[in-house]
């Protein structure tokens, strides 16, 4: 297998085979252990949901069980979008491309959490209020708008060709986007008519609270696994792009001399 480590330092091309660094390849160190841990954590969450919490509560029946998958997505959305903002600021400060790759990977995992949040939220809304979508609910709307804002981040990143400017611009947008989240939420909360179930007594039972926070931790391990995989792919893709750029520059120099 040819990797960038065994390749020519100037061009990134493998000296023996002449091949460019591959997009695939062996996973990052400890990835397998992480995957097993994530799977075990999620299986244990399912076991807790089946054995430790009431299977139905007054008012909303068993549909509330989706809450144990919905709530972790809600918390992890903020974790990964927060990480995106942190990585964006660090890129602007250090100009190290690794922070841009971290920001992009965090954006993709954040959007995944956001999609899980919307699908589980919408499913719960159908069961609880007999409607898939409620336009004036602040949480549902905030989640939808956040998705659009961060899809915009990926579109912006993909639209600019020159790598340094692309990273710079994405860094600024990544920082701006996170500032907007509390304002989106409060503007809808203050000027919409909330219908999201804010409080159910049964949800404050000790076993339910413990299970839902365990769910946050278990899903964090799972989403972190996806983040690592995404980051690894982006690192390889960026190295490939760098190598191609260097080869093009060498060819241009050869053509002019």
């Amino acid at each position: 297998m040819s990797t960038i480590n065994s390749a020519d330092r100037t061009t990134g091309v493998d000296r023996t085979s002449g091949a460019l660094p591959r997009l695939g390849g062996s996973p990052a160190r400890g990835f397998g252990v992480h995957a097993v841990l994530a799977l075990a954590a999620l299986l244990f969450l399912n076991w807790l949901v089946v054995t430790e919490v009431p299977l139905a509560i007054k008012g909303i029946g068993s549909s509330y069980l989706i809450f144990f998958y919905h709530f972790p997505a809600a918390i992890n959305v903020f974790v990964f979008y927060g990480a995106l903002m942190g990585a964006s600021v660090l890129y602007l400060k250090t100009k190290d491309p690794i922070w841009d790759r971290r920001a992009r990977a965090a954006a993709e995992v954040g959007i995944l959490c956001n999609a899980v949040l919307l699908v589980t939220g919408s499913t719960w809304a159908k069961a609880a209020w007999n409607a898939w979508w409620v336009w004036n609910d602040p949480r549902l709307m905030s989640a939808a708008v956040m998705t659009l804002i961060y899809i915009g981040y990926l579109m912006l990143h993909g639209a600019i060709e020159e790598p340094a400017r692309r990273r710079q611009v994405a860094g600024v947008y990544g920082s701006l986007a996170f500032l907007n989240i509390p304002m989106v939420h409060y503007s809808i909360k203050l000027f919409g008519q909330a219908s999201h179930p804010m409080k159910f007594d049964a949800l404050s039972d000790a076993s339910v609270v413990a299970t839902r926070w365990y769910g946050v931790a278990a899903f964090f391990v799972f989403y972190l696994l996806i983040y690592r995989w995404t980051f690894d792919r982006k690192s390889r893709a960026d190295r490939l792009e760098d190598s191609l750029g260097r080869i093009r520059r060498i060819e241009e120099r050869g053509a002019t001399s």
């Binding site: 602007l92 708008v145 659009l148 804002i149 915009g152 579109m155 912006l156 639209a159 600019i160 060709e161 020159e162 340094a164 400017r165 710079q168 611009v169 860094g171 600024v172 947008y173 920082s175 701006l176 986007a177 500032l179 907007n180 304002m183 989106v184 409060y186 503007s187 809808i188 203050l190 000027f191 919409g192």
Partner: protein, 232 residues
Amino acid sequence: MTPPGPWKSYCTLVRWDWTREMRRKTTLLSMGVMGLITLFLFSFAIPPEREVLLDTRAGILWVTFLFAATIGIDRAFRADGRSGMLQGLLLAPVRRATLFYARVTSTFVFVVGLQLVLGVLFLVLFNQSLNVDGAITLIATVIATDLGFVTVGVMIGAMTWSVPGGDVLLRILLFPMLLPVFNVAVASADRAFKGQALSTTQLLMLAAFDLTFLGAGHLLFEHLVKDVGSDV
């Protein structure tokens, strides 16, 4: 020769933008015509009954404002960037933050001016009226909303001007970012049509948005124009 101070540079840049636009008038004309077309489209899309308009007039007004003003925001950097004028500006001994504030000010003046004209046209075409309290509320809402709108717009305009098809991307990035102010602006315009004063909560929300993004623009704008020229 010593370079001019920030205030002098700021005034010169705003005056320069103003003079150029007053000579060409292309942006103002495009914004005005777009606003008018949007109003006409609404007249076909929504039944003109008075009861329906009572619920929808604030939304119609702000969607029209948004569509028209986005044209001005898009041109804030695209024309200068494409013609090489932006690169020339960046060579001048002017602070990046000064350039940012000047561009926000000139775009803000054009957008507010245009929206006041469109607002009057809306009242005439849709047979609506405003009392004094309502008019003050609407003008205050337009000013407070547009400051945040233009600030975010100028930042996103500086991100997308060099991208092929960047005008579409600008709208895709800008509209979701503007949702908090748009939501407040519609609620506030509704109060204006009912003859009520601007609520403190609404004003605070708009001020929080404006100040947050003005501060962010002050800190981040220089990163957006640092490598300008390398991808033109």
